[in-house]
């Protein structure tokens, strides 16, 4: 008769956390940055068709890093939950908090259940408010813990280095173009040596509170990125070894595609350091795994 090996619960959780973290750290990072008119998400993504950032509901966006099939499942579940709630109650009753809670419970249960492998994903659930004070970024980890981030946040393999860069360079009230530049620069600072991110591998989307439609989510088209990084390549690539070739400047997208935001951010605004998110009180304490 064989005796099962004894594994302490601490060891078991640590192993599962290591497994999930290893999976996540293989992928490229993603940043969320608050700008004057909403929230901006930028990810390094080789695929034009498979998105890391997408729309959940009127004021809600979903962003994820890690294993695609797992976060795609979570995204679809979120869209279904949001649409179901909005249909059963009202569009105003779909909140980021409710969705973050549902994701946290799901990820937490999967992480601590013996039968399933932990999800190798990290998520942002973001909600844009009527005013900048109402903007919310919830950061969810593979183990189901939720952190409430302010102004900017990064996740993925090199989240720490990127957050450090953002802490040094972020200022509140950025215009969209400036926020885009900052986000792309931050993504490039993910290792000991800063690198230039290829424009073709950028995925950018925003929750724009100035949109007149109820649905505030919009993707930032490649043409906009080309205009932005094409015109200012000397500036952006000043500290880089190889400046990028300047592509022909395409006109800014039409009304249906989005609007151009030219409002400059307030100058000399005080930089607020990003507090390591405080956990929401109504959520169960998660095993730390450390």
């Amino acid at each position: 008769m064989s005796m099962p090996f004894y594994v302490s619960p601490e060891q078991l959780m640590r192993d599962r956390a290591d497994y999930a973290r290893k999976g996540i750290s293989k992928g490229r990072s993603l940043v969320a940055v608050q700008y004057a008119d909403g929230l901006l998400f930028v990810a390094e993504n080789q695929s034009q068709a498979l998105h890391k950032v997408s729309e959940l509901y009127d004021r809600l966006a979903f962003a994820a890093v890690g294993r695609y099939n797992e976060f795609e499942n979570l995204r679809i579940a979120g869209v279904r939950l949001a649409d179901m709630r909005g249909y059963a109650y009202d569009r105003l009753d779909v909140t980021g908090r409710a969705l973050a809670n549902a994701y946290a419970q799901t990820l937490g249960t999967i992480f601590s259940s013996g039968g399933e492998k932990p999800y190798e994903v990290e998520l942002f659930v973001a909600e844009v408010g009527e005013r900048p004070e109402g903007d919310q970024i919830y950061r969810l980890t593979y183990q189901g813990s939720v952190a409430d981030e302010h102004q900017f946040a990064a996740m993925g393999g090199s989240a720490e280095q990127i957050t450090e860069y953002l802490e040094e360079h972020y200022s509140s009230g950025l215009a969209l173009d400036d926020a885009l530049k900052l986000a792309v620069e931050a993504l490039g600072h993910d290792g000991p040596e800063p690198r230039q991110i290829s424009r073709d591998a950028l995925e950018a989307a925003a929750l724009d509170r100035t949109r007149t439609q109820p649905r505030k989510f919009r993707r930032i088209p490649a043409s906009r990125l080309a205009t932005l990084f094409g015109s200012s390549s000397d500036e952006a690539g000043a500290d880089e070894a190889t400046p990028e070739p300047v592509e022909p400047v395409e006109p800014v997208e039409s009304a249906s595609g989005g609007r151009r935001v030219d409002t400059p951010g307030p100058t000399g605004s005080s930089r607020v350091s990003n507090e390591p998110g405080k956990a929401l009180e109504d959520l169960p304490a998660e095993p730390d795994g450390e």
Binding site: S54, L81, Y87, T109
Partner: protein
């Protein structure tokens, strides 16, 4: 809405599969579907919406609906709205049992948005028209009880670059209409009116004028259709869908059109005269 003791998202939510919200609703919360009520025997008096007209013009389509809801011989509401955006490039107008119709429209709107979010691409105009047919088909049992919902669907076909109109019957039959169409109790009069007023090469505004004229003629001969309410300043809802997307014509513009029409009809109550040949 189904809730379980476990706060985790139910397995059905995490199962890949349908991009249809209505199908998902049917499996997860069938009681929320408009057509899934237990039919009751005996007649009920519920508010009914009346006349909707739609007409195409170069580069788009116009849809207009009167503002009256009736309950038997009673006017249930003077300012009901029966023309809604379905998504960015289409609109839907509803005649029939108002409660079910409004619910069906809400479901249709979520259905289109849901597909767009799940699949990352919008349905084709024909796809949207077929989805609406499926929703109407689900309401057949209620239709047999006298609670029929008859929509009119119109939209801008972004592939073909034209406005298109689709009509339906209570069994979910879907028919594409050419140039113009109308549904509801006053639809026969409205269609007769549009036959004489509609022509090729109208502008959006002229098309809207023809639609409001048709509603006026419908209200003239059908007691359930409301004409322009000059004392309360209640005018038809006019939607215009073009390459720029759905736009509701501002009330001030519709008021202007209605005022022109009423002024002209002071001279000739039957409206503009068509030439004999």
């Amino acid at each position: 809405m189904s809730t379980s003791a476990d706060a985790r998202l139910p397995a059905a939510y995490l199962t890949p599969g349908t991009a249809s919200f209505a199908d998902f609703l049917a499996s997860q919360a069938p009681d929320l579907l408009p057509g899934r009520r237990t039919p009751v025997t005996g007649a009920v008096d519920v508010p009914h919406g009346t006349t909707i007209v739609a007409a195409t013009f170069d580069g788009g389509v116009v849809m207009a609906g009167d503002r009256r809801a009736t309950m038997g011989n009673i006017i249930a509401q003077r300012d009901i709205e029966k023309v809604f955006p379905a998504d960015e490039y289409s609109c839907v107008g509803i005649a029939g049992a108002a409660g079910l119709a409004v619910e069906a429209t809400r479901l249709f709107q979520v259905e289109l948005e849901h597909y767009e979010k799940i699949e990352g691409i919008t349905l084709s105009l024909d796809g949207k028209a077929n989805r609406l047919a499926a929703l109407i088909r689900g309401n057949l049992a209620m239709a047999m009880q006298g609670l029929a919902v008859v929509p009119l669907f119109a939209g801008y076909d972004t592939n073909a670059g034209i406005g298109r109109i689709f009509s339906y019957d209570v069994t979910g039959g879907r028919y594409e209409e050419q140039s113009f169409y109308s549904v509801g109790s006053g639809s026969l009069f409205a269609r007769g009116s549009l036959k004489k007023l509609y022509r090729e090469g109208l502008t959006a505004r002229e098309c809207a004028t023809a639609a409001v004229q048709a509603l006026y003629d419908a209200a003239d001969d059908d007691s359930a259709t409301g004409g322009p309410d000059l004392t309360r300043r209640i005018f038809p809802v006019v939607a215009v869908v073009t390459a720029d997307g759905y736009a509701r014509m501002p009330d001030s513009d519709v008021a202007e059109i209605a005022d022109e029409i009423v002024t002209a009809r002071m001279e000739r109550p039957d409206g503009p005269a068509a030439s004999l040949t």
